[in-house]
């Protein structure tokens, strides 16, 4: 996967350019610094051209003028050195490996204190260099996400190309999405649409009930907050195969954020929204309206749920008529429901009634 065709040499070049920038700042008697867009909810804006949410104009400057700023820049310098060498040697590593690897650096000040710190730094470098972490040969630990449905692909593996049909050639678990989806080529498909499902339990229910087969649906398991590869694959399925995308989650604020990151892009990786987000993705449910209409078994909203919902009302990504109505309704009834709550009407209710009706309504079927 790549934002554009960035070769290893180019990625390496960009990293070294950043180091050279620090060097020049030192040499000019200036304070070394790095400018980044402010990565908060208040600094993302809708790009009508690309139809995704990207960072706004607000910038924060990380300078060596403070102890913590200087430490971050020192770590950045060490990480640049490491990544440049990795590209030079055509090796790759995971984000977690980077974190542990820093322990081996001869400088304690440069070592990472947490996995989050190294993850964030890699994201910073992505933003500043305009390359992606895949360009740096950095992988996340695992994506965990799977696809099931009438789709034939060819994956370049370390052991040669493999043609795989995502229904016939795979087990009940489905096809495991690799970290770098640019290694996948779509060969053929009979799919009508893509359905991203939040929970493993619901995915298994759909597969067991043969929903993918019956409706020619590509069921993509998100597994919580979806990994970049899952989102990228979803976008490619939509863009390259022209398939409509729907998202099926729990009926709570955290699930709406999962939908948000599929459809609009996440705040942390807004610099990659253009390549990861599928703005056309639609939300199937569970909707607060469903809780009322189907009289689903519910849990009360906790304080943190209420805060999250209120925070979503402030989130520019959710400022649409549909979401405002649904969120306000949910705050009103004070309840939330899981996908599996549909089982209260029988195991087949979701595949026989709920989804066909809803998808028909949405014009997907």
């Amino acid at each position: 996967m790549s934002t554009e065709d960035t070769t290893d040499a180019e990625a390496r070049e960009r990293l070294i350019d950043l180091a050279a920038e620090f060097y020049d700042q030192f040499a000019a008697g200036e304070i070394p610094r790095m400018e980044l867009p402010t990565r908060t909810k208040s600094n993302i804006e809708y790009d009508p051209e690309k139809k995704v949410w990207v960072y706004g104009d607000r910038k924060s400057t990380r300078t060596a003028n403070s102890v913590s700023g200087a430490r971050k820049l020192l770590k950045a310098s060490y990480t640049i050195d490491f990544l440049a060498n990795q590209l030079d040697e055509d090796r790759s590593s995971t984000l977690r490996e980077l974190y542990y690897l820093s322990e081996s650096w001869n400088n304690e000040e440069a070592q990472f204190n947490s996995q989050d710190e190294s993850n964030n730094l890699v994201e910073d470098l992505e933003i500043v260099t305009g390359a992606t972490r895949e360009d740096f040969h950095m992988r996340p630990e695992e994506s965990g996400a799977k696809v099931m449905g009438p789709l034939l692909i060819r994956e370049q593996t370390q052991r040669g190309d493999r043609d795989i049909h995502c229904q016939k050639d795979v087990g009940q678990g489905g096809y495991q999405i690799p970290n770098d989806t640019d290694t996948i080529e779509f060969l053929d498909n009979d799919a009508e649409f893509v359905m991203c499902v939040e929970t493993g339990g619901m995915r298994d229910r759909l597969v067991e009930n043969g929903f993918d087969d019956e409706y020619d649906c590509l069921v993509v398991h998100l597994g919580g907050q979806p990994a970049r590869a899952t989102r990228r694959l979803t976008k490619r399925l939509h863009d390259e195969l022209d398939l409509p995308v729907v998202v099926f989650c729990d009926g709570d604020p955290w699930s709406y954020r999962i939908y948000g990151s599929v459809a609009y892009g996440s705040i942390k990786s807004a610099h990659l929204s253009e390549y990861l987000a599928t703005p056309e993705a639609e939300y199937v449910g569970i909707r607060p309206q469903d809780i009322v209409d189907y009289d689903l078994p519910t849990d009360p909203l906790s304080d943190s749920d209420v805060n999250a919902l209120e925070s979503e009302l402030d989130d520019p990504r959710f400022q649409t008529e549909f979401w405002e109505e649904q969120i306000e309704l949910q705050l009103d009834i004070g309840k939330k429901a899981e996908q599996q709550a549909l089982a209260s009407r029988g195991l087949d209710f979701v595949t026989d009634t709920y989804l066909p009706e809803r998808l028909d309504e949405m014009g997907v079927l």
């Binding site: 070394p32 060596a64 102890v67 200087a70 820049l73 020192l74 310098s77 050195d81 000040e109 440069a110």
Partner: protein
Amino acid sequence: MTSQQTTLGEGATTAEELAEGQREISIAEFFEKNKHMLGFDSGARGLVTAVKEAVDNALDATEEAGIRPDIYVEIREVGDYYRLVVEDNGPGITKEQLPKVFGKLLYGSRFHKREQSRGQQGIGISAAVLYSQLTSGKPAKITSRTEGSADAEYFELIIDTDTNEPEIGTAETTSWDRSHGTRIELEMEANMRARSQLHDYIKHTAVVNPHARIELREPGLDEPLKFERATDQLPAETEEIRPHPHGVELGTLIKMLDATDSYSVSGFMQEEFTRVGKKTADSVVDSFRDRHFGRELGWPARNGAPAADVGADIEDALREAVSNKGADATDTFAERVANSLTERERTTYSQLVEIVATVADEVGADTGKTFGATVRDNAVEAAWAELTEFGTGGVEENGEEADGDLDRLTPTLYELVDDATSTRKDDAAVHGLAERLAERFVALGDDGSNRMRLALDDLTTLVHEAADTTEEYDDETFGDTARENVVEALWSRMVTVPDDPPNVTEIAGDRDTASELLEAMRETDILSPPTDCLAPITAELVEAGLRKEYDADFYAASTRDAEVHGGDPFVVEAGIAYGGDIPADGSVELLRFANRVPLVYQRGACATTNVVKRIGWRNYGLDQPGGSGMPSGPAVISIHVASTNVPFTSESKDALASVPEIEDEIELAIREAARELKSYLNKRRSMAKRREKQDVLGRILPQMAEKVAEVTGREHPDIEGAMARIMNNVGVDRERDGETVTLKVANHSDRNEALEVTEIVSAEPEGLPDGVEPIEMDGEWFVNWNPEVSSGETVELEYSLPTDADADATVDGVDDEKLTVNA
């Protein structure tokens, strides 16, 4: 003392018996009963108190003689007793003075003096003598040598406990190595359990008396404790002052009235009090008159005044009243009196008497007719009756209809009440109040001539009565403010009467009158007492004293201006020492001083402690567990209160009483010093942060530079400039180009800096600017610049030097933490 009350009904006999009984209590018994109050309640404490009294005495004696005190204190075990020796280098005392100074309890020149001195009640050293005598049975042994005398004198002194009279047992000459001074030796039952208090007392005395040298020897010390002199400056000499009118109490006042030679109140005030001249005395006397006699309310006769145009009526009435003086003289008299009255805003009875008298004299002189006392009285009564006409004259005169309903008072009062109360009041009610006031003023004359004379209290009562009645009948409220305003308006229009105030003897004889005078004195604005009777240590010496005894990092001190409590002036001083060798654990040490005497006991009961506890010390950078109470940390706080009358909680003078005025000043003094502490601590903290930042960045940035050099494959970059900028530093860099030397002083901080750059070079420098002269010393040249560099600017200092010469720069004027010298 014992408190017993005379039982009612038994009368004077019991009281007399009781008084007799009291006279029979011997001084020893008195001492025994009161020793806790005097500071001798235990052997341990008795010793400390004895040392304290003797040392205070010695300090006072030397200072009064203008001698820098050199005091020696020794405590030795002698059998079952302890022997205390205190020596000073004072002027010495003669045999005649001796009993007075050391012997008689409650004797002391200071007892009636208003002057700052250590011992105030004169109870101290004689109590120690008595204590020693009572516990050991030994006399006090006193050696004294006056300046210039060949020999010293030695006395043994005991106090006759029946008569409270000192007796000198032995008197002989002896030799002594001091050229002048006094030595007192007391043996007493005691112990050294209060050793730490004793040491504290001596140490704190040294802190607060930096001009004194003090030495202490006691059995527990291997080496004597010596406190050397930190200054040669003696405390300023104090002036004795008379009492201040605001500071006396009724009993004292009556005693003073009894004792004075003055006849008049005015003379008494000027003679016996400080800050009272003729003018102030007059104000006091006027205020006294107002209280004693009341003021008089006057009425208008002026044309245009409400219900006035009374001139013609007065003239008529006067013509009626004067008889047998002939038409001309009568007319002239009546006309002139009436004219005088109509020209005046308002006229009181006393003023009327005076006007009638003046006019009568004038007209008498002009016409040759004599206006005798009877005529004058009649004239006054007639004119006053017209001025204060209030519908009472319902008698027909000369067949004309009497102006029985004429009321001159109500309209005048109406105007006044209307002005004084809010505009929202019902008009009829205001009129009603005015009428009721008028009725009551008129009624004042029921028991004699109605002069409309009232004291403020009576006026207030009268207004309240009138207002209450009006509220009842006119359905309108006159609240407290409205009533006060009416009283105020009336009182301000009333006039002090010209009557002579009672003389001093009369006042002294009547407690109520004396109380009126006291009130008048308190109510009159009088300048604060002079402060030359006080000898503050001064902020400078408070600090010097702390510096002498505490090895700290920081010292601050403050002296407040003199203030007054009661009639006594006082000055509060505070000092703070912080850090250094002061122990950091536990509460801060609090040093309390009153008139330069350390207070050792009863810390918890002392006003100074209360004030320290109520200050929020966290604001000033000290820890304060729980946000109140004693702060903790490595600090010493010293507080000195100097006054002509330091209020103590008890006779043992261990703790300051809580007097709000003094507490407020203590707080302000402490806060003043604490603010300096705060800015010091803030600076220290920010310096510590800066140092930490420098340490970390000084480590990190070269590593980062090395790393980016490695990644980019370039040389290690020069990071000095970036470092200096990051540190907000002042950087001094040297450049040498051939013979030209340039010192670049770059100020990266956000404030202007004034530096002192000193260059030490091994050859003679050339090409220096005007005003910069090299100074040669042992083959080295010192060059000194004082550049001022604005924030963000760089200044270049240039000169020439042979290329093989060495140069080394040192920079002052900027904190080390902010300075990067690369030269």
